[in-house]
C-alpha cells in the first residue's frame, strides 16, 4: 500500500461530563490517496464525530482522549490550531450534513464562493468570480453565472447542497470528508455528485471519506467501507465483501433493511430494538442486546475489530469460533 494520506490510529473521543462518556472507542482507519472510504452506521454511531475529529472541529464537551491522527506523513492532532487552520479548507475540506449551516443566509452564493476561493487561491476578484461560476457549473447548477447573485434561500434543498460542495472544492483540497453529502438529493443529481467525487478522487488523487447511510451510494462510489456501531468499528473491508457477504450481525441487519426495487415486501426486515445510549452501553459486545446470534461470552467480553484471514476486519466473537 502507498503511504496513507490519512492514518487514524486507535482514536478515542469522549464527552467530558462529570463522568466522561466514550463516544468513539479505539477506531483505526487508513485512507490512501485517490481512495474513497465509506462510513456507515446508524444515527449517533459516531460517524460525524469521526469526521469532526480529523478536522479538529469538535466542540467543547467533546474531546479526543486517545490515539493519533496522521495526514500526509505528519501528525495533525497535536499541531497548533494556527497550523490546523491552514490545513482546513485548503488541504482538508469538509462537506456538512446540513447545507443550511454551511451557507450564510445574508450573502449571495457568489459572494461566499468568491470569498472562500480568495482565501485559498491567489486570484483577483474577477478571476475568483469566474472560478466560482465554473465550480457551480461543475457541481451541476444550471445558469451558474446568473445564479451567483442569488441568495441561498432561493435555491431548492438539493441545489443548496451542490453549492456547499462547490465551496468545499474551492481550495482544491487533497482530502474531502463528506458527511451525508447527497442525503437531500434526488437520484440523478446524487449520481452526478458521486460521479464528481469519484472523478476528483481518481484524477487528483484526492482522498474521500464518504459518510452516508445510503448503501447504494456506498456500493457505487467506495473502495472500502467501515461500519460503525455505538462508537466502535463493527466491520471494515472491501465494498464487495461487506455489501454482498456481510459478516457482522449488525452489518447483516443493515443490509437486509434496504428496500429493493421490485421486492414488493409488505414490511421491511427490521433490526429489533435501538442502539443503546452511550451512558448505557452493555459490558461486552455493544450489539449483544439486539443480536440474533448472541452467546454468553458476548455479554461480558468485548470483541476487537481484528483483521481476519481475508483481510476483512470484523468485531464479532462468531469469527473466533471458525
Amino acid at each position: 500500500m502507498t503511504a496513507p494520506l490519512l492514518d487514524i490510529r486507535n482514536l478515542s473521543v469522549s464527552l467530558m461530563r462529570d463522568v466522561p462518556l466514550t463516544v468513539l472507542s479505539d477506531i483505526s482507519l487508513q485512507l490512501a490517496p485517490g481512495e474513497i472510504l465509506g462510513v456507515v452506521g446508524e444515527s449517533g454511531a459516531g460517524k460525524s464525530v469521526t469526521g469532526a475529529a480529523v478536522m479538529r472541529l469538535m466542540t467543547r464537551p467533546l474531546q479526543q482522549t486517545g490515539g493519533e491522527i496522521w495526514f500526509d506523513g505528519g501528525r495533525i492532532d497535536t499541531v497548533p490550531e494556527s497550523h490546523m487552520q491552514k490545513l482546513r479548507g485548503k488541504q482538508i475540506a469538509m462537506i456538512f450534513q446540513d447545507p443550511l449551516t454551511a451557507l450564510n443566509p445574508v450573502f449571495t452564493v457568489g459572494q461566499q464562493l468568491v470569498q472562500t476561493i480568495r482565501q485559498h487561491l491567489p486570484l483577483d476578484q474577477a478571476a475568483a468570480r469566474a472560478r466560482a461560476a465554473a465550480l457551480l457549473g461543475e457541481v451541476g447548477i444550471p445558469s451558474a453565472r446568473e445564479r451567483l447573485d442569488n441568495y441561498p434561500h432561493e435555491f431548492s434543498g438539493g441545489m443548496r447542497q451542490r453549492v456547499v460542495i462547490a465551496l468545499a472544492l474551492a481550495g482544491e483540497p487533497r482530502l474531502i470528508i463528506a458527511d451525508e453529502p447527497t442525503t437531500a438529493l434526488d437520484v440523478s443529481i446524487q449520481a452526478q455528485i458521486i460521479a464528481l467525487l469519484v472523478e476528483l478522487a481518481r484524477s487528483r488523487g484526492m482522498g474521500v471519506i464518504l459518510i452516508t447511510h445510503d448503501m447504494g451510494v456506498i456500493a457505487e462510489a467506495c473502495d472500502r467501507v467501515a461500519v460503525l456501531y455505538a462508537g466502535r468499528l463493527a466491520e471494515l473491508g472491501p465494498v464487495r465483501s461487506v455489501l454482498t457477504a456481510p459478516r457482522h450481525p449488525y452489518s447483516r441487519g443493515l443490509i437486509a433493511a434496504i428496500p429493493r426495487v421490485g421486492a414488493r415486501l409488505a414490511m421491511l426486515p427490521q433490526i429489533p430494538g435501538t442502539m443503546p445510549r452511550l451512558d448505557a452501553l452493555p459490558a461486552g459486545c455493544a450489539f449483544a442486546p439486539r443480536c440474533p446470534f448472541v452467546m454468553e461470552h458476548c455479554k461480558t467480553h468485548r470483541p476487537e475489530a481484528t483483521p481476519r484471514a481475508d483481510g476483512v476486519q470484523v468485531a464479532c466473537w462468531l469469527e473466533e469460533g471458525q
Binding site: S43, G157, G158, D186, S188, I189, P259, G262
Partner: protein, 342 residues
C-alpha cells in the same frame, strides 16, 4: 383477508379523495428593481409548478419522484395549505378547497404533513406533549388538558415511543425518534390525507425501515391516504401504489408502481430508473444522467427534457407535450411515446 376482500380493497373506487387540476406556482426571483433598472435586467420568474393534474384514490399512496428543484416540496406545501398556488384547483372528498385561504377547518384537520427534517419540524422549545397536543386542543379534539395528555400518551404508544417520553424536548431524541414524534403530531388531528415530504431521507436504513413499517401499519389501521415524496426510488417503489414523475415543474409520467418500474415510458423516467444506485451496481458510478440540468429560470422551449433526451426531434424543441392517457392506466407527456417512436 379473503382474496375477495383483497380485491375489493385494491379496486380503485371511482371517487378520488384528493385531486388537483392545473396547479401552478410561480416564484419571482428578480433582482431588486433598482438593479433591473440600472442594468436593464428583465424580471425573472421560476415556474416551480406548471399545470400539475392528478388524483389519489382513498387509502392509496401516490409516490412522487423527480430531480432536486423540480417542485416536489412546492407541491407538498401548496397541498398542505402552507403556501398559496398561483393557479389551479384542489378537490378534497369531492369538494373544491380554497388553497389560498384554506379556511375550512375540516380540511385543515384532514390534511397533514410530515417534513423531511425531523430537526426542523418540531419546535425545540416545546415539550413533545405541547407539540403533539397542540392540534388536539386547536381542533377541539380534546375537551380538557387531562384528556389531551391521555390522548398524547396513546399517540406516543402508537408510534412506538413511551407515554413518559411526552415530557421530554425534541433535542433529547434521536433523528428517528423525532420523526416518529413528527408522525404522532401529524396523526393527532386524525387526518385522512398525509403528505410526506422525504420523511425518511434524513434517517439511516435501519431507522428508515422502522419508520416506513410504522407508516404502512398506520395506513392499514386508519385507512390513510398518502402523498409520498422521496428521491429514493427503491423507497418509493416499496411504499407506493402509483408513482408520478416530475421534471422542471411538470408531471411527465404517472403509472401504477409496477408498470412504472417494469416499463417506464418517458425517457426521463427511463434514465432515472437506470441510475438508481443499488447494491447490484457496484463500482459503476460512471453513468450519471448526461447533460446540464436545465434552469427552471429559463426552461428550454417545447419539451423541457429535450436537451438531455436521446429521442428529441424538431417537434420536441418547439411544442410542449401534453399528458396523454396510457392504456394500462396512468399518463405520459412525451411526443415520442405519442408518435409511437418510443
Amino acid at each position: 383477508m379473503t382474496p375477495d376482500q383483497l380485491l375489493a380493497d385494491q379496486a380503485p373506487t371511482d371517487a378520488p379523495l384528493v385531486s388537483v387540476q392545473n396547479l401552478s406556482r410561480r416564484f419571482d426571483v428578480s433582482p431588486p428593481w433598482i438593479t433591473r433598472a440600472l442594468y436593464r435586467q428583465p424580471r425573472r420568474i421560476v415556474r416551480a409548478l406548471d399545470d400539475i393534474t392528478f388524483a389519489i384514490q382513498p387509502k392509496r399512496t401516490l409516490g412522487l419522484v423527480g430531480e432536486s428543484g423540480c417542485g416536489k416540496s412546492t407541491l407538498a406545501r401548496c397541498l398542505a395549505g402552507l403556501m398559496s398556488p398561483s393557479g389551479g384547483v384542489m378537490h378534497y372528498a369531492g369538494k373544491p378547497v380554497d388553497l389560498a385561504s384554506k379556511n375550512d377547518p375540516k380540511v385543515r384537520r384532514a390534511v397533514q404533513m410530515v417534513f423531511q427534517d425531523p430537526y426542523a419540524s418540531l419546535n425545540p422549545r416545546w415539550s413533545v406533549e405541547e407539540s403533539v397536543g397542540d392540534p388536539l386542543l386547536a381542533f377541539g379534539l380534546a375537551g380538557s388538558r387531562a384528556e389531551m395528555r391521555q390522548m398524547v400518551g396513546a399517540l406516543m404508544v402508537e408510534v412506538g415511543l413511551s407515554p413518559r417520553d411526552a415530557q421530554k424536548y425534541p433535542l433529547q431524541f434521536s433523528g428517528g425518534q423525532r420523526q416518529r414524534i413528527a408522525v404522532a403530531r401529524a396523526l393527532a388531528s386524525r387526518p385522512a390525507f398525509l403528505i410526506c415530504d422525504e420523511p425518511t431521507s434524513a434517517l439511516d436504513v435501519s431507522v428508515q425501515a422502522a419508520v416506513l413499517n410504522l407508516m404502512r401499519r398506520l395506513q392499514d389501521e386508519y385507512g390513510l391516504t398518502y402523498l409520498f415524496i422521496s428521491h429514493n426510488l427503491p423507497v418509493v417503489d416499496h411504499m407506493s401504489d402509483d408513482v408520478g414523475v416530475m421534471y422542471l415543474g411538470r408531471l411527465v409520467e404517472l403509472q401504477p408502481t409496477e408498470s412504472l418500474f417494469d416499463a417506464p415510458r418517458h425517457p426521463y423516467t427511463q434514465l432515472l430508473i437506470q441510475t438508481v444506485p443499488s447494491l447490484d451496481t457496484m463500482g459503476r458510478a460512471s453513468a450519471p444522467l448526461k447533460g446540464e440540468v436545465p434552469s427552471p429560470l429559463n426552461p428550454p422551449p417545447g419539451c423541457a427534457f429535450n436537451p438531455r433526451c436521446p429521442f428529441a426531434n424538431a417537434r420536441c424543441r418547439v411544442e410542449r407535450p401534453e399528458p396523454t392517457a396510457l392504456p394500462g392506466g396512468g399518463m405520459v407527456a412525451c411526443h415520442g411515446v405519442q408518435e409511437g417512436r418510443i
